[in-house]
């Protein structure tokens, strides 16, 4: 699904990623944890193709193609989805119109016919249930005036609508109360299957009680310094990050 080899990237002359290696196979859920400033969100941004980040080395192959050469829209059309840490408000564009356009652009790129309004509304109705979203929200402007929890739910709703092959969740759990967290996690779990993969970036082990990962990686100073299974996340929760810093030494 995704193969990241020795990925290096900088933003505004500051080197952030220092050689990331990660392989994600179909159906796998990978959690990426790490202290503040370790490069978690940079990794998500580089994968999604955000302009401000400059890749200085390495490669990323997504479903057999060079991801780094693709525009953000082509990445999405190929099946990549980023759930934003800070979803953007877009006044004047309704959620429904936005999603219908996005969905049909993706379908078009994959040689499918556009979805008609009736079918779209039907699917939207189903997926709204998944994240317990109110119908009125689809007619509101994208994220405008949404609460923090509503914005995150809207990200998961979009993901459910667009049905990506690989979803990257960038701190989707941050700032959520336990109910909102459960809703978001349920949404993600409902989308898990044998083909679809997830990269779940989080600060908190708590999320991983709800979205149980196959692998856990610790990112530190722009590198994955430790990988394991869900037990690693629990260890981090219990002991913090300091032992890892010591274990890997200050030489990195």
């Amino acid at each position: 699904m995704l193969e990241i080899k020795n990925l290096q990237a900088k933003v505004e002359e500051k080197q952030i990623l220092n050689g990331i290696n990660l392989t994600v196979n179909p159906g796998e859920v990978h959690a990426i944890m790490g202290p503040n400033g370790s490069g978690k969100s940079t990794l998500a941004s580089v994968l999604a193709g955000r302009d401000e980040y400059e890749v200085t080395g390495g490669e990323v192959v997504f479903r057999g193609e060079n991801l780094l050469e693709m525009s953000p829209e082509d990445r999405a059309r190929k099946g990549l989805f980023l759930a934003f840490q800070y979803p953007v408000e877009i006044p004047g564009v309704t959620n429904a119109n936005f999603l219908k356009t996005a969905l049909n652009e993706i379908r078009k790129a994959n040689g499918q016919t556009p979805m008609d309004s009736k079918e779209f509304l039907q699917i939207m109705k189903e997926k709204m249930k998944l994240v317990e979203m109110d119908k009125a929200m689809t007619q509101r402007s994208v994220n405008e005036g949404f609460s923090g929890g509503e914005k995150k739910r809207n990200e998961v709703f979009q993901m459910a609508m667009l049905e990506p092959m690989l979803a990257v969740l960038d701190e989707t759990d941050s700032g959520l109360d336990i109910d909102a967290l459960r809703i978001v996690a349920n949404g993600v779990n409902a989308l898990r299957n044998q083909e679809r993969s997830f990269i779940v970036i989080t600060h908190y082990q708590r999320l991983l009680d709800y979205i149980v990962p196959d692998f856990v990686h610790v990112l530190y100073k722009g590198r994955i310094v430790k990988s394991g299974t869900k037990e690693l996340a629990m260890e981090l929760e219990a002991k913090g990050y300091d032992w890892i810093k010591e274990e890997v030494g200050i030489h990195i």
Partner: protein, 437 residues
């Protein structure tokens, strides 16, 4: 003579007036004559004139424009693209300034309501009483010029308590297929007490080889407790020059809403003066301009709060592409009497290219002490975060930009209460935005 005015092109227009006056039995001879004298005194403004600093009219005046003789060649199919207000509208089609009765639909008017051509209403008492009384021809040379050439236009009169529910569409076509043409549309709208009406006044050109010049003036009186909506739409082509003046006089408890939508034209100047002449008036001023190429669109607004307890709310937005430029000058006067005034103004612009420019100038002059006034102006690029967000969902860059621009423009259009007009404007706006890429 005021050095801010020039005289080189004036004679051309004076000569044209001579021909006009000898051809037509004048609309209101003393008014036309007085106006041409005022125009002769004033001449055309130059960029030395503070109000015309960013708008150089000399490219307009270089042209040789012919004045229509009233010969008609317009066919029904020619105006189909311009029918913007729906089937049940009261429609007045003006062809090069003259009412074309064959293409117009003026039927089943409520009792006492007059909707007709100004030319055939010339002897009506209301026309005599109001025409030329509001628009400032002593200061504005283009108002003086228009007034000198008054011949035809729309006359709308509603007696006390009359309501016109159907939209009234004043459709002006400048047909320059045969030669470069100038038209001087003139509208007089007098709404009395408790009236309610909605007017769309739209300007279009046919033919794009020759240039065309529209110099229009509208005078609108909004009577006590009346509710008037006026939407000015302009889709003229980039060979067309358009200078307009709209003068509004509001009486007590009246509501006046105006939207000024500019979607085309080489040089466009919209002057809008609203006088809140008695207590408890409300006015909303909306504006949208979308420009590309070398277009220039200049909106000058003046809201004159003369009496207490009135509210004005102004929102102008622009999307400027290519090498085009925009001007927004928003004056708000709050006179010493006008306590408890609420006056708000906002001008927001998106520049689509590095070569597009915008000059914006709010000008609040407040002489009363118990008022709430605010203004704000922004000019910038499209929100790059929003753009990335849309693209990350699979929407192409071009589409995503159009999406954001359309949303920006829709924020103005949504305030128009005429739904058919709103629905027909959005595709025109989308088309214009796509041209600008």
């Amino acid at each position: 003579m005021n050095p801010a005015y020039q005289h080189t092109d004036k004679e051309k227009f004076l000569n044209s007036y001579g021909a006009f006056a000898s051809r037509h039995e004048l609309m209101d001879s003393p008014l036309n004559t007085l106006a041409i004298r005022k125009f002769e005194e004033l001449g055309f403004p130059t960029t030395k004139h503070e109000e015309w600093k960013y708008t150089n009219v000399s490219p307009i005046l270089k042209n040789r424009f012919a004045l229509s003789t009233g010969k008609s060649r317009l066919k029904r199919e020619d105006i189909l693209p311009f029918l913007l207000t729906g089937k049940d509208s009261i429609l007045l089609v003006f062809e090069n300034g003259f009412l074309n009765r064959e293409l117009s639909l003026i039927e089943n008017l409520p009792q006492g309501v007059i909707i007709d051509s100004l030319a055939s209403s010339r002897n009506h008492d209301v026309v005599k009483q109001h025409l030329g009384k509001y628009a400032p021809m002593k200061q504005e040379s283009f108002v003086a010029l228009n007034t000198a050439f008054i011949f035809d236009g729309a006359f709308i009169y509603l007696p006390v308590n009359a309501v016109v529910e159907r939209p009234i569409h004043l459709l002006y076509v400048n047909d320059s297929r045969e030669e470069a043409t100038v038209v001087y549309p003139r509208n007089l709208i007098v709404a009395k007490k408790n009236n309610s009406l909605k007017i769309a006044c739209t300007y279009h050109t046919i033919g794009n080889i020759n240039s065309a010049f529209t110099n229009s003036v509208s005078e609108i009186v909004t009577g006590a407790n009346a509710n008037v909506e006026f939407v000015k739409v302009q889709t003229e082509n980039d060979n067309t020059y358009h200078i307009s003046h709209t003068e509004v006089m509001q009486e007590r408890d009246s509501v006046f809403n105006i939207s000024t939508i500019t979607l085309g034209g080489n040089i466009v100047r919209n002057n809008l003066h609203i006088v809140l002449n008695d207590v408890n008036c409300t006015s909303h001023l909306y504006g949208l301009y979308i420009t590309d190429g070398n277009e220039l669109v200049d909106n000058h607004t003046l809201v004159d709060h003369a009496k207490p307890n009135c509210e004005s709310n102004e929102l102008y937005k622009g999307v400027l592409g290519g090498k085009s430029s925009g001007v927004f000058n928003g004056k708000v006067f709050v006179r010493p009497d006008a306590q408890k005034t609420n006056a708000y103004q906002s001008n927001k612009n998106i520049l689509l290219s590095d070569e597009a420019t915008m000059n914006t100038k709010p000008q609040l002059e407040i002489f009363a002490d118990d008022v709430k006034c605010s203004h704000g102006a922004t000019t910038g690029q499209l929100d790059s975060e929003a753009l990335f967000y849309l693209r990350s969902r699979g929407i192409g860059e071009k589409e995503a930009k159009a999406f954001l621009n359309i949303a920006f423009a829709a924020d103005v259009i949504k305030n128009i209460s005429l739904e058919p007009l709103r629905d027909r404007l959005m595709p025109l706006i989308e088309r214009k935005l796509k041209q600008g890429d």
